[in-house]
């Protein structure tokens, strides 16, 4: 035993001389449990970004440490503590949903370790926090974009179907309603569903009887696609609009013909890469997975890593978390995979949104909205 | 009369298990309830103990009605019972089994037990001593720390009786106490019941098929058939009664 330990110490010493330092970045993601689907897709981007850029400017290697939180808060807190205290990470990426990300931030804030969230869009997430950052836009921005678009198309009344079990959905619904009413529109029907629901026949029947100009569905693709299908089944053919939650291939597979003309906002569109970084990343993605249809969660995941890496590169000591955090908040015109990013003092990203629609089984770019 | 069953009827759905049956048991009497299966004997027990509610009629214990009382309240008034197939608390020691009988006699509160206040220790000591006394009386004190189910059948019966005695009863209901015992054990049990009646001032009401046992022990018997009483009187007269023979005893074994 003693001998082994000596050997190990020797090896470690050797390594520190011959190779550059290894710096760890943590990722807390739901890789199993009910949220596994999204966690896995997001982590794909983080992992690939790490493979593409495994080293810092100064030659130090960046090692990703992934911990699975099963989508559970106790595990999230424990995992975050482990990353900081046992693995000594300099920054953390994750943890998908706003409520779990809040648990990550709660632990990291005390330890002054920066967190970059990929898709946690809840407005309140970063407020009053010093070390919380994100690369996605906030619900309020997205809601505004959609409301303004709807008004510009001449829609006066809207029905909103939101998912009460998802913070994302409720936040987005609220932001939309606020912006839409302010711009002179009227919400004529509000229905709440629960993620995991499969049967929306009753819901769409209600919407049909309310007869709105426009349907807003701030949902994820499993529910949105079913609602689209089931709406079509009963002859409800109103324009439908969703947030970024539906922007993926599965939505197309699931929705089929029923989502023809269905619109949504997104961070990013693989068919229209906004930056050179996007193009390169998509090429690498295709090479690795054999498919081109990259989810925007994957792009955002990659950007959390890239922003973190860029911030580390800007610091004299790439392990100085406070400096990294400062530099993250100093991200200006960053060419990310998902688009051009600016991160402000409060850690929120200001970035463009794109409006797209589903056409012939593809996501087609319609327009870009800048903040 | 310590127990008075007054015109009790019990219906289960459409079936009448007991029909207008009345009887009384005098203090310190040993009274037998016999009859074929399904005659309503165990049902009668369950009505007295409050497990069933009589459809009609009433049961009086020490001239007070038991109507509306919960089973555990009836036990606390002094009516204890044993079960047809022994039902000891399997995971507990013999002593703990008997201590359950003292449950309502130990006077300390939940808070006192959590905080281990002096009264807890005092009361526990008191009921343990009493429980050991009962075990000694029945000659099974050396098994006090044994798991109840590790004992032999006869000893388990004794534990069950000890447990019933622990509730400090005036009336003891025994449901087929001799079932599954050999003649020697049966005789020992009869002696025990006889003796316990004197030492604990007990009145005993029992169900039994073993006519020899009944004959030996009971002062009076009531024969039930299809929920109706067909005979009440001395057991020696019962076995000569033609109706009882026809309904219950048959002519296969007579000695």
């Amino acid at each position: 035993m003693k001998k082994l330990a000596t050997l190990a110490t020797a090896a470690a010493l050797l390594a520190s001389f011959s190779v550059a330092k290894e710096i760890k970045i943590g990722a807390v993601m739901p890789m199993s449990g009910p949220l596994a689907a999204y966690g896995q897709v997001t982590y794909e981007g983080i992992e690939l970004a790490n493979e593409l850029q495994p080293t810092l400017k100064n030659g130090d290697t960046v090692k990703l440490v992934l911990v699975d939180n099963k989508g559970d808060k106790v595990e999230t807190s424990t995992a975050t503590t482990r990353l900081i205290s046992a693995d000594g990470v300099v920054g953390i990426l994750g943890a998908l949903t706003s409520s779990n990300t809040a648990a990550v931030i709660a632990v990291a804030e005390k330890k002054k370790i920066p967190v970059i969230a990929s898709v946690a869009t809840n407005d309140k997430l970063t407020a009053k926090r010093e070390f919380a950052n994100r690369v996605c836009f906030m619900d309020s921005f997205q809601g505004e974009v959609i409301a303004n678009y709807a008004i510009s198309q001449g829609y006066k009344t809207a029905a909103v179907i939101s998912d009460q079990a998802q913070v994302y959905s409720l936040g987005l619904a609220k932001a939309f309603e606020k912006a839409f009413t302010k711009a002179g529109g009227k919400i004529t029907k509000e229905v709440k569903v629960t993620s995991g629901d499969k049967d929306f026949k009753a819901v769409v029947a209600q919407v049909k009887s309310a007869n709105p100009d426009f349907m807003f569905l701030p949902l994820y693709h499993p529910e949105a696609s079913l609602i689209a299908r089931q709406s079509k089944d009963i002859g409800l053919n109103k324009p439908m609009f969703s947030g970024d939650g539906v922007a993926n291939q599965t939505m197309i597979d699931l929705g089929g013909d029923a989502i023809e003309g269905y619109m949504f906002t997104d961070f990013f569109d693989y068919s229209a890469p906004p930056t050179q970084a996007s193009k390169d990343f998509i090429a690498a993605y295709e090479k690795k997975t054999g498919k081109k249809e990259m989810n925007s969660f994957t792009a955002l995941g990659a950007d959390t890593y890239n922003v973190m890496l860029a911030a580390m590169n800007k610091c004299a000591d790439p392990t100085d978390s406070v400096c990294i955090n400062k530099e993250i908040k100093n991200t200006k015109n960053f060419e990310g995979v998902s688009g051009v990013l600016n991160i402000d003092e409060s850690g929120n990203a200001s970035r463009s949104a794109v409006i797209k629609e589903f056409k012939n089984g593809k996501m087609v770019y319609k327009t870009t909205v800048n903040p | 009369m310590i127990l008075k069953v007054d015109k009790v009827t019990k219906n289960f759905g459409g079936v009448t298990a007991i029909k207008e049956t009345s009887f009384s048991v005098a203090p310190k009497e040993i009274y037998g309830l016999i009859g074929p299966n399904g005659a309503g004997k165990t049902t009668m027990f369950n009505i007295i103990t409050g497990n069933y509610e009589a459809s009609e009629g009433e049961v009086f214990f020490r001239n007070e009605t038991l109507h509306g009382l919960k089973p555990h309240q009836i036990v606390r008034r002094g009516v204890a019972r044993t079960f047809q197939n022994i039902r000891l608390f399997k995971s507990m020691s013999v002593l703990d089994n008997v201590l359950i009988g003292f449950d309502f006699q130990a006077r300390y509160s939940f808070a006192e037990s959590i905080l281990r206040l002096p009264r807890f220790f005092g009361e526990e000591k008191r009921i343990r001593a009493k429980a050991m006394e009962i075990l000694k009386y029945l000659g099974i004190e050396k098994f006090a720390e044994h798991k109840a189910t590790d004992l032999s059948y006869g000893q388990q019966r004794k534990v069950e009786i000890a447990r019933a005695l622990a509730t400090n009863p005036e009336l003891l209901l025994l449901d087929e106490p001799a079932a599954g015992m050999n003649p020697a054990e049966t005789k020992e049990l009869a002696d025990l019941i006889y003796k316990a009646r004197e030492d604990f001032d007990l009145t005993v009401l029992l169900i039994e098929h073993d006519m020899k046992f009944v004959n030996q022990l009971c002062d009076r018997v009531l024969v039930l058939d299809y929920g109706k009483s067909i005979f009440e009187g001395k057991p020696s007269d019962a076995i000569k009664d033609p109706e009882v023979v026809a309904a219950y005893l048959g002519d296969f074994i007579h000695d």
Binding site: A36, K198, Q206 | -
Partner: protein, 298 residues
């Protein structure tokens, strides 16, 4: 709400309820013979749906063949779980059995998650199944019309087996007394295995229908559906197959009707199955068509 909408809701409820019913039958039968709340049953349904998906999307089988694969595969899996995880525990405390059931459930969910990923996959629905029918204003897809029909046919089949064949008698006999069934010269373990096979096959049918109507398959899909189907089995009276179907319909109708008539309570939809369940149990502690196992055992 006009009559047509009302009828439409009824049809929807019938269709949804049928799927719960198909899954509930498996719960009720296994509970009947083993007194086991088979928490893995919902996951067997998930496997059934996945097998259907693999059959069509990977093996390129026609729908009917894929469905057959799902049914046979799930039945085999059901019997296998019995053999590996439940049979060795026949004489163990019931709670140990329950924990292994939870273990099997976790295993299936997580193994599918690790090996096939958690991302929902679109179930390739054949065109003739998603064809929309319009009968005097009532609209539904072929598949949602097919569910209740198949359910009732299968219910008839199960009842025939249970009440007209000697194997069915043995299953009913098992519900009360395992050891005595052995004394009849019957291998009780084999009968129990048949029960698992039948229940799992029905769950697979339910799973495939679920995938047809709400065309996704993912590893966690069995959790909530399974729980609600179990609630359905208890509402109907656990141990009774007809009760399970009845319970399935009741839960299905409740869900649909509540949202249709009281949309503001939509958020409580998932809770309704349980509120209903609690109410039924308080007034009839054994469910609508159930009997008291603890009492009638002897």
């Amino acid at each position: 709400m006009d009559f047509l909408t009302f009828m439409q809701q009824m049809v929807n409820g019938f269709s949804l309820g049928s799927m719960y019913a198909l899954i509930a039958i498996g719960y009720t039968m296994v509970y009947g013979v083993l007194r086991l709340i088979n928490f893995a049953h919902g996951d067997i349904m998930m496997v059934g749906a996945f097998l259907g998906y693999f059959g069509i999307a990977v093996l390129d089988l026609p729908f009917a063949a894929a469905a057959l694969l799902a049914v046979v595969g799930s039945a085999t899996l059901g019997m296998l779980t019995d053999k590996i995880a439940y049979k060795p525990l026949r004489n163990a405390p019931k709670i140990s059995l329950l924990i292994t059931a939870i273990g099997i459930s976790f295993f299936l969910e997580n193994a599918f998650n690790v090996f096939f990923g958690g991302v929902p996959r679109a179930f390739p629905v054949p065109d003739y199944m998603s064809h929309i029918l319009n009968l005097g204003g009532l609209v539904f897809s072929v598949s949602s019309l097919l569910v209740p029909i198949v359910t009732l046919i299968l219910l008839g089949g199960i009842l025939w087996v249970l009440f007209k064949t000697k194997y069915g008698m043995a299953i009913r006999a098992l519900a009360f007394d395992v050891n005595t069934v052995n004394l009849m010269g019957i291998d009780a373990n084999r009968i129990i295995m048949i029960v698992f096979g039948m229940g799992s096959a029905l769950a697979a049918v339910g799973g495939v229908f679920w995938a047809l109507n709400y065309p996704t398959v993912e590893p966690m899909m069995g959790v909530l559906i399974g729980l609600k189907a179990f609630a359905a089995a208890v509402v109907g009276g656990i141990g009774s197959v007809t009760g399970a179907v009845l319970g399935g319909f009741i839960i299905g109708f409740t869900e649909v009707v509540v949202i249709a008539f009281m949309p503001e309570l939509g958020g409580y939809k998932d809770a309704f199955a349980f509120v209903f369940l609690i109410l039924v149990l308080l007034f009839k502690p054994t469910g609508i068509l159930g009997y008291d196992f603890e009492k009638s055992r002897f």
